[in-house]
């Protein structure tokens, strides 16, 4: 399972009529989305529009009140987050959630656990299989860190990384699950202009190299408009526009949602 050259084309992901209410508030109402394999789509909207809630619904953190979620023909509704992750959907978090006290390398290696090929017997007796698979994991994790430019810091604690590196480590860790669909929740938040430009390149490279479908939440319009093929705009839990970056830019409803009525 060589990370870099492993080609799993898939990731046809369809969400229909996803709805959830918290108390009386409809946080997400009738959300539809269709991601084709290797597509890069954006999900934008003002603060509190429900973007992260959509991610939490897709990844099983919340159970939707109604709606369907289907990845390559398999329904994901009602599965636990870890089952959805195994099914091929990985995510990053808006408020970084690394395993702070583990090393950078270990953070990535946690994601390989779902494919661990040894059991408790191999652990306690340290069989050759244990050594072989641990080495494989270490090598793959190292390769992945190289892609994200973190190989120098592999033995540092995740919490000691600078902010931008932590964001990149989150992406590396998500990629290690070998996802068909990658959900990135504001990966550019808190980065400076140069870092953002570098990140745009990295995201495009990830898509081509790992053949993943990507859904991107982002506030930075330049970043979203620059790399996404299609954009969905969410406001007050409802979709107000879907289209190419050009169409979205000219859509009066979108302008109204962001700037208010003039």
């Amino acid at each position: 399972m060589n990370q870099a050259e492993n080609i799993v084309l898939g990731g046809d992901f369809k969400v229909e009529a996803l709805t959830i209410s918290f108390g009386g508030l409809k946080a997400v109402n009738g959300f539809n989305l269709h991601l084709k394999p290797m597509e890069l789509q954006g999900l934008i909207g003002p603060n509190g529009a429900g973007k992260t809630t959509v991610f939490n619904l897709i990844t099983g953190v919340y159970l939707p009140d109604s709606g369907t979620s289907v990845l390559d023909g398999k329904s994901l509704i009602g599965l636990n987050p870890h089952q959805i992750s195994k099914a091929g959907i990985a995510r990053t978090f808006q408020n970084i959630r690394l395993f702070a006290d583990l090393t950078v390398l270990e953070n990535v290696m946690v994601s390989y656990h779902m494919r661990v090929g040894y059991g408790y017997f191999d652990i306690f007796l340290r069989t050759p299989r244990y050594y072989r698979i641990e080495q494989e994991f270490r090598d793959h994790a190292f390769q992945l860190l190289k892609v994200m430019g973190l190989e120098q810091r592999k033995d540092d604690k995740a919490k000691s990384l600078p902010y931008g590196d932590q964001r990149r480590l989150e992406i590396a860790r998500a990629l290690a699950t070998e996802p068909k669909v990658l959900l990135l929740d504001e990966p550019a938040a808190g980065l400076n202009t140069q870092e953002k430009a570098a990140l745009m390149g990295t995201i495009a490279e990830i898509r081509n190299r790992f053949k993943t479908t990507i859904l991107l939440i982002e506030h930075d319009m330049k970043l979203v408009m620059g790399i996404c093929e299609k954009i969905t705009v969410l406001d007050h839990g409802e979709i107000i526009a879907v289209g190419t970056p050009r169409e979205i830019q000219d859509n009066p409803k979108v302008i109204e949602a962001y700037l208010g009525v003039g």
Binding site: P81, H82, L102, E106, V110, H113, R126, A174
Partner: protein, 314 residues
Amino acid sequence: MKRFQTLVLIAVVALLWGLNYLFEENLNPYVLRVIINCGIGMILAMSLNLVNGCAGQFSLGHAGFMGVGAYISATITSVLNLSPFFQTDLGVGCAIVMGGIVASIAGYLVGLPSLRLKGDYLAIVTLGFGEIIRICFLNIEAVGGARGLSGIPPKSNFFWVYLWVVVTFIALLRLLRSSYGRAILSVRENEIAAESMGIDISHYKVVAFVVSSFFAGIAGGLFAHFQSFIDPNSFVFNKSVEAVIMVVIGGMGSLSGAILGGVIVTLLPEVLRVFEQYRMVIFPLILIVLMLVRPMGLFGHKEIWELFRRKASS
């Protein structure tokens, strides 16, 4: 590499065997008792460390599982009269392992429902289960009830106790240095992130609990066959608190820290005997000062050899 490890292991066993003879011949029996109690404390602390320190689940019922191990193994060797085999060193060893296995089953049964809870709630539920287990023994006449169980063959000597210390240390270290160990640690670090990376967090909480209960049961079995007398009062809530103190002092998540914690908490009350009635005032004071000076425990999350490596490199 493999051969080297085997050689080291044989050397360690031989060393323990030799020390056992040396200590029994030359050492004051009181000092030897304290040393053996330290060993039992180490096993207890290392086992609890897996749940409280590594998986980040706060359990306050560890004495209960120790009690299960003690009572089951003692029942096999001195109540059931199965065969003379269970009076020999090896037979007692088997009984202690059985005690560990039954303790781990108890851990599974307790862990399955209670590990859905977090923090304070989990602490209270495990505390409750620990007490339930103790009160069960209090009311089973076959194992002596409140009078306790006496005449247990005193087979836990320095050699057997410290052999189990080595076994526990190696087993837990190997578990933690594996993909399964990383899964357990990731639960402590961030449950939501761990789940999103495909870790079945409830499963690994239960795994940590079961393995931990097994070694607590072993500690209990060794304790029973060392004291040659047990009663339900040996496994009260205070014992669980003592185990938690060992883990916290040593540093949550550090195996070598747990070993040191086990030694400190067993040894300090003995060393402080010179202060007579002030002993139990000074002991907690020392603990308070220790927590103020090093709130993360003596070793923090690190192992002792990592502490030194850190210093050497920076």
